[in-house]
């Protein structure tokens, strides 16, 4: 079955002439037909356009003929881009390719399918999608994580070879952890955000969700690079990330933050993480306890800054140029208020209200300015820690996947699930989640993810550690 293969192995078979790009697309289409009713990973897919691209794929390119699933907030010309929202689900078609999509195409890849997500990437379970439920392939009663839940479920459920996600507070790493695949959030500014529908612009970053660390490195090679259309895109050269694979980790210093021993951590997750750390030590790494003293500020800081930026970014959904337009409005103010009221779902409204409140007159200093200061402390914590260690290791998520509906009525409890991933976005650092075994919950084997975080722009060391660990796991 081609859909269960890694990019690396498919590329070998393509260049050897054993299979064609058309074979891969047809296999993915078959898997999507077979499994999507159950898993709900894809919101839509277009076999004909993918086959047309497959038939003219340049197999001499490093990603030649490889279909990549796309989170439904990244624009691909001519395709829907719903962001999991009713407001964009009626008739929107992307007028252009996102920068990341242009780069993937330049590497020979074929965008295939639109993957479900929490509405406008707000959530950690994909339950906030207005367009359908996505289930965890390991246990259909449980969530796949989020917000890139469709991307992770498709890769883990062998309906995609690899996929793109976006990560604002953990939205690539956490679903990858909960579904048992690899998810990588690059350094802020590495990958162009041009054509990614903005949630929180100072935190958003596109990255790959894959079956192997090697595939993540390969995709990063084709995603990273300057784009003048994104003013926060970094003018730095990207190295060949695959060169960091297979180097071993002898003598590398691994930091273990003492503040991450929180009470809410699931015992099985703690046990798997401990075993993973012991494995890293046995591979020659040097363990060192470190301190990130402002860890307790991370979630609070994020839930000021991200909603504040979101409330401004989502102001563009005004029912005028694109998106849902209320049929009931008599004047312009009513047109705005009703179009947005009818188009946005509960979590998006909640965050727009929160963001509007913290930016409003009289509260700006108390919340927004204070959160920007707290962000400095969190960033400084990491800068200090990285004077002593090369990477920082922790669980990706404090718990395995929860059951569908379990946290729906408790938004704050859901926010606290992001405690280990959020600080990485606030500091703009690269981070990966790699599978580190399973925990037995109610007779089901639920995956656990290990998060490895590196210095800004040092994706290579993160990949090196992740690959050594993956190889040792077997």
């Amino acid at each position: 079955m081609l859909a269960s293969s890694s990019i690396t192995s498919l590329r070998q078979r393509l260049t050897a002439g054993e299979i064609t790009a058309r074979d891969i697309v047809l296999d993915l289409a078959k898997m999507a037909e077979f499994r999507n009713a159950e898993l709900g990973a894809y919101l839509s897919w277009d076999v004909e356009s993918a086959l047309a691209e497959a038939d003219k794929a340049d197999l001499s390119l490093p990603l030649g003929g490889i279909p990549i699933g796309i989170k439904d907030n990244i624009n691909v010309a001519g395709q829907p881009c719903t962001c999991g929202s009713k407001i964009l689900s009626e008739n929107y078609r992307s007028p252009y390719d996102a920068g990341a999509i242009q780069r993937l195409r330049a590497g020979g890849a074929i965008p295939f399918g639109r993957l479900n997500m929490d509405e406008f990437a707000m959530g950690s379970s994909t339950e906030n999608s207005a367009l359908g439920i996505t289930r965890n392939p390991r246990d259909l009663e449980r969530v796949p994580g989020g917000s890139s839940g469709g991307s992770a479920a498709a890769v883990a459920g062998d309906m995609a070879v690899a996929a793109l996600g976006s990560d604002t507070g953990g939205s690539i790493r956490q679903p990858a952890a909960l579904c048992g695949c690899v998810g990588f959030k690059p350094t802020y500014g590495r990958v162009s955000r041009y054509g990614l529908v903005a949630f929180a612009s100072s935190l958003d970053q596109i990255g790959p969700i894959t079956k192997t660390v090697g595939d993540a490195a390969l995709l990063l090679n084709h995603l990273c690079g300057h784009d003048s259309r994104d003013s926060t895109s970094l003018k730095v050269d990207a190295p060949d990330f695959t060169a960091s694979l297979g180097q071993g980790i002898e003598g590398l210093r691994i930091g273990l933050p003492k503040e991450y021993n929180i009470s809410g951590i699931h015992s099985g997750v703690a046990a798997r993480t401990k075993a993973a750390i012991a494995q890293l030590e046995s591979l020659g790494a040097i363990l060192e306890e470190i301190s990130l003293p402002h860890t307790d500020l991370g979630v609070a800081t994020y839930y000021v800054l991200a909603p504040a930026e979101a409330s401004a970014n989502l102001a563009r959904f005004d029912g005028v140029r694109y998106g849902h337009r209320s049929a009931a409005a008599a004047d312009l103010m009513e047109h705005y208020r009703l179009s947005r009221e009818e188009g946005f779902g509960p979590e998006v409204k909640r965050r727009i209200l929160l963001g509007t409140y913290v930016l409003s007159s009289g509260y700006y200093d108390a919340y927004y300015i204070r959160a920007q200061k707290a962000r400095t402390l969190i960033r400084n914590d990491f800068a200090e820690a990285f004077k002593k260690v090369d990477v920082i290791v922790s669980p990706t998520s404090p718990t395995p996947a929860h059951k569908l509906g379990e946290l729906t009525d408790n938004p704050l409890a859901a926010y606290l699930e992001d405690v280990f991933t959020i600080p990485v976005n606030l500091a703009g650092l690269p981070g990966i989640s790699v599978p580190c075994g399973n925990v037995d919950v109610d007779g089901k084997q639920l995956p656990v993810g290990l998060q490895i975080v590196g210095r800004a722009l040092d994706e290579s060391t993160v990949l090196r550690v992740a690959h050594a660990f993956e190889t040792a796991q077997g």
Binding site: L297, D331, T356, R370, K373, A374, L426
Partner: protein
């Protein structure tokens, strides 16, 4: 007005251009109050002299060369508009 933080949810909803139902106003008011109580964690530290961070990576003003580049055609720009009239976007009347 919500309990701890005295949030005027109707005022916030007007600023946010959301026509909340009364049921939503009550629910979101209470939930925002709970979330803001958690956010008050930020008052645990004296942040007086700390510098602001707007972006994790250094960001500076970026100017692009002032040169003509291809853009959308009129049809492409209008293709997603929910209501059109005579090759323009139509909106409710704004002047009497």
């Amino acid at each position: 007005m919500s309990a701890v933080h005295q949030i005027d949810i109707h005022h916030v909803a007007t600023l946010a251009r959301l026509a909340l139902t009364e049921e939503e106003a009550v629910r979101y008011g209470a939930q925002l109050d709970g979330i803001l109580t958690y956010i008050d964690t930020l008052t645990r530290y004296d942040l007086g002299d700390v510098e602001l961070t707007a972006h994790a990576m250094p960001v500076e003003d970026v100017l692009r060369p002032d040169e003509a580049r291809p853009g959308f055609t009129q049809e492409e720009a209008l293709a997603n508009a929910p209501k059109r009239f005579a090759d323009q976007i139509q909106i409710p009347k704004v002047i009497e």
